[in-house]
């Protein structure tokens, strides 16, 4: 199978280049990550992140034939050859397929991604009805892979100011939690021309999310809450 992979090692390369690879696959090689591991057996200098190989850790997000996705759950049989692989767009490249995620995590951290509840906790669990718990479905499952934010034009232009779809999805995850008491504070924080309102509902993020989550819907809900509280 044929691949064209973005290669750049700041230690020795002046500028990035695409390199061609041809590998013979084993019948067990099912996913793109399997093929990349095989390529690395030939050329140990190819650098990428990977860990769980089952789509839950969020390590191996990359741009695959022009679309962001996770190598470990992208089937080889679904890919057009030569398979073109590039690092996630919009973030600085450290080396090859490895990008610097600092800005992405900064935005995640900026939304106070933890439950805020000032009441002294009860002896046992805080109660939550199954319906209230259902509100968290489609939100808490995010694996912080950055496929969404790095496909969002608004994030490319303002990665330091716009929270981006991943961070906003998590902001809503806490707003939606019946146990969280900081909704007003969270909304205040986002009521800003950049932090939330750079989202122009382009929907790239929904398309890119390998976990089938819908950041646009969460962003819509946050906007709704803002409108509601202003009337």
């Amino acid at each position: 199978m044929r691949f064209r992979i973005f290669r750049y090692d700041p230690d020795k390369d002046e500028k990035p280049a695409m390199r061609d690879y041809e590998v013979v696959l084993d019948p067990h090689d099912r996913m793109l990550l399997d093929a990349l591991v095989r390529i690395k057996e030939q050329d140990d200098s190819l650098s990428l992140r990977r860990s769980c190989r089952e789509g839950v850790c969020g390590s191996d997000a990359m741009n695959i034939n022009g679309k962001n996705g996770l190598a470990c759950i992208t089937k080889l049989s679904d890919l057009k050859e030569p398979v073109e692989l590039r690092p996630l767009p919009g973030l600085p490249v450290i080396r090859d397929l490895i990008v610097d995620m600092t800005q992405f995590f900064k935005q995640y951290h900026s939304i106070k991604p933890y439950l805020i509840n000032a009441d002294p906790p009860p002896e046992k669990e805080r109660l939550q009805s199954p319906e209230e718990r259902d509100e968290l479905d489609g939100l808490y499952e995010c694996i912080l892979c950055a496929c969404c934010s790095t496909s969002c034009p608004s994030f490319w232009w303002n990665p330091d100011k716009f929270v981006g779809p991943a961070g906003l999805l998590q902001a809503y995850r806490f707003i939606a939690d019946s146990r969280d008491q900081a909704t007003a504070e969270r909304l205040d924080d986002l009521e800003d021309p950049y932090r939330l309102f750079r989202c122009h509902t382009i929907m790239n993020c929904v398309d890119a999310c390998p976990k089938n989550l819908n950041p646009t819907r969460a962003i819509g809900k946050i906007k709704e809450l803002m409108v509601k509280r202003s009337v």
């Binding site: 140990d44 650098s47 089952e54 933890y114």
Partner: protein
């Protein structure tokens, strides 16, 4: 080479469930802590845990820590230390409630309490009938738990060293542990992290086998670092094969599927577990189910064109239950087995899953080793400054076979306990001991060797040899001649591992170098496992020998300790005395 140094009160190596729970305790105590991880914390393999956390909350019916304790001791085939087990099951409910208070999105019952599902080996009233004890968030419990703990650490402003790989453990002449050397992946720079207390929470080593549910990063680094620094490894012959890995892919299908009512079939459509475990059936302990499956396959009742897997049926649960409680499983089955479990059964095989052994600790998370002082020998002398928790540690609560859900419990309980021990140690020992001058020597030698090596074998090749050998010689069923050959082979491979070559010489994010450094750890974990397995002449829990079919309490009710130095073994007694409860006396184990 002058190696830079930084000093901390405590260094935590690992940011999975155990490392994050410990880090939280240490940060909130106001200590200066460095938490190192090879990957961003939420990418640690705890994220993959599916089924749940074991704790006798009694939300679904009567339950008691005594029953949880009994199940765990029985599950361990009596090799678990009963003091540690009592400690764990009694702490468990408190720590689950605490996790809920931190914001963990547990599934809920109508009355608002945490939903609990049945799991293998967990029972009511000392083995009478299954109990619902596993606290879960759909089939993404590990993900929910790891993210919640990370979030809580963000709140506590814990200091993380992300994509830093610890390379070697530092000890002074007296044996006290004083920190680690570590490599910053992005720059390739090595640093000495000088610490008054060091905690290992580096997770498992499932990557010594070819077919495993473990992530690429589960390379037993903590074990390798400890072994190289003279610390023995405990009970490494005990490897859990999970009954339901996706055939061919290794990806896990949680036991929660059987907890929710799924069951196993052979090629004739027979629910064969009824024959092997008439009482708990498909919810018998994992070693029992995996052996039953291997027997079915061996005797020609496996399914599929080559008869090499069995079928996990769950379509009768209905699409609602599957979507609500097992959505991740459906996703995995579709992606890795090309089937939709709402309609068809999933092809599964026993797959290496969990390491019961590890760095020997007591139930306070302190690392303990045999020592000789004042003319007396102490099998469990505390190594000052050194702590371990989670899968890399052996407390031992899992003994010869771990019950499902008891690992996540272990991470919470012993992550916290180890941190509390550290806090106490730092209070009682306010000073900071100096590092020996040559502290970084071993690390520098390893790196220099890699940089200079020419004409060596590739890391990938040697790694493959380790995995093939472990899989073939140290599997579900173990044979004396195969084990003996396995020991010989693994020793030869160890030799080859010391001559590997890395072509990539870049300083920036050199993953080839990282894999080579991991290989040094894989080989120690593999050698410890094979040598310990060859020597144990009985069958207990996950260790099943063809020449000694039963458990032999008069000779083998003891823990193995493997030393890298001399590749030799020692043994130490099992703690049969719980903290307050009555001893659960060994008896024949049936389900």
């Amino acid at each position: 080479m002058a190696v830079a140094r930084r000093s901390f009160d405590a260094v935590v190596v690992g940011a999975g469930g155990a490392g994050l729970r410990a880090a939280l305790q240490l940060s909130e105590a106001g200590l200066s802590v460095a938490v190192l991880s090879k990957v961003f914390p939420t990418r640690s393999h705890t994220v993959a845990a599916q089924g749940g956390i074991g704790a006798a909350l009694g939300n679904m019916g009567e339950d008691s820590w005594l029953w949880h304790m009994y199940d765990t001791v029985k599950g361990s085939d009596w090799l678990g230390d009963q003091d540690a087990i009592e400690f764990m099951v009694r702490e468990a409910p408190k720590l689950v409630y605490e996790l809920e208070h931190f914001g963990m999105p547990f599934d809920r019952n109508e009355n608002g309490t945490v939903y609990q599902r049945p799991f293998g080996g967990h029972s009511q009233n000392f083995g009478e009938r299954p109990v619902q004890r596993s606290c879960c968030a759909a089939d993404r419990t590990g993900h929910a738990m790891l993210h919640t703990l990370y979030q809580r650490n963000v709140r506590a402003r814990t200091q993380f060293f992300v994509e830093w790989m610890a390379l070697d453990l530092l000890r002074d002449a007296s044996g006290q542990v004083l920190g680690v050397t570590a490599l910053e992946m992005e720059t390739g720079e090595v640093m000495v992290l000088h610490a008054r207390a060091t905690l290992f929470a580096t997770g498992g080593a499932g990557r010594i086998f070819s077919s495993t549910t473990n992530a690429y990063i589960c390379t037993g680094d903590g074990l390798g670092m400890a072994a190289r620094a003279g610390i023995p490894l405990e009970d490494m012959e005990f490897w859990q094969f999970h009954p339901t890995g996706v055939a061919g892919a290794g990806v896990l299908i949680t036991e929660g599927v059987r907890g929710e009512g799924g069951y196993l079939l052979n090629k004739g459509g027979e629910r064969f577990m009824e024959r092997y475990a008439p009482n708990l059936k498909d919810l018998a302990s994992r070693d029992v189910v995996s052996r039953a499956m291997a027997t079915e396959i061996k005797e020609g009742r496996g399914a599929g064109p080559r008869g090499d897997y069995l079928l996990l049926k769950l379509d009768h649960l209905g699409p609602e239950v599957i979507e609500k409680r097992l959505p991740g499983i459906r996703e995995i089955a579709k992606k890795f087995a090309d089937i939709d479990p709402v309609k068809d059964p999933i092809p599964v095989v026993p797959t290496v899953h969990y390491m019961m052994g590890g760095i020997p600790t007591n139930y306070r998370g302190e690392v303990v080793v045999p020592a000789f002082s004042n003319g007396r020998s102490d099998p469990e002398a505390v190594v000052p400054g050194f702590y371990a928790a989670g899968e890399c540690a052996c407390a031992s609560v899992h003994g010869a076979n771990r019950l499902g859900t008891n690992s996540l419990t272990d991470l919470l309980v012993f992550g916290k306990a180890a941190a509390e021990s550290i806090i106490k140690f730092l209070q009682e020992n306010p000073g900071r001991k100096d590092l020996p001058k040559d502290a970084a020597e071993r690390t520098e030698a390893r790196l220099a060797r890699l940089d200079g090596q020419t004409n060596g074998e590739s890391v990938a090749e040697v790694g493959m040899e380790i995995r093939r050998t472990m899989q073939a010689h140290c599997g579900v069923f173990r044979f004396p001649d195969m084990l003996a050959k396995g020991v010989k082979k693994i020793r030869e491979i160890a030799d080859r591992a010391s001559r590997t070559q890395v072509k990539d010489k870049s300083r920036v994010f050199n993953t080839a170098r990282i894999e080579a450094l991991e290989l040094d750890n894989l080989i120690e974990a593999a050698r410890a496992s094979m040598v310990s397995a060859e020597a144990r002449r009985e069958s207990r829990g996950a260790h099943d020998r063809a020449d000694h079919h039963s458990r032999d309490d008069s000779n083998w009710l003891k823990h193995t300790l493997w030393y890298k130095d001399g590749d030799r073994l020692e043994y130490k007694p099992v703690h049969m005395k719980p903290l307050t409860a009555r001893t659960i006396e060994p008896k024949v184990r049936t389900y």
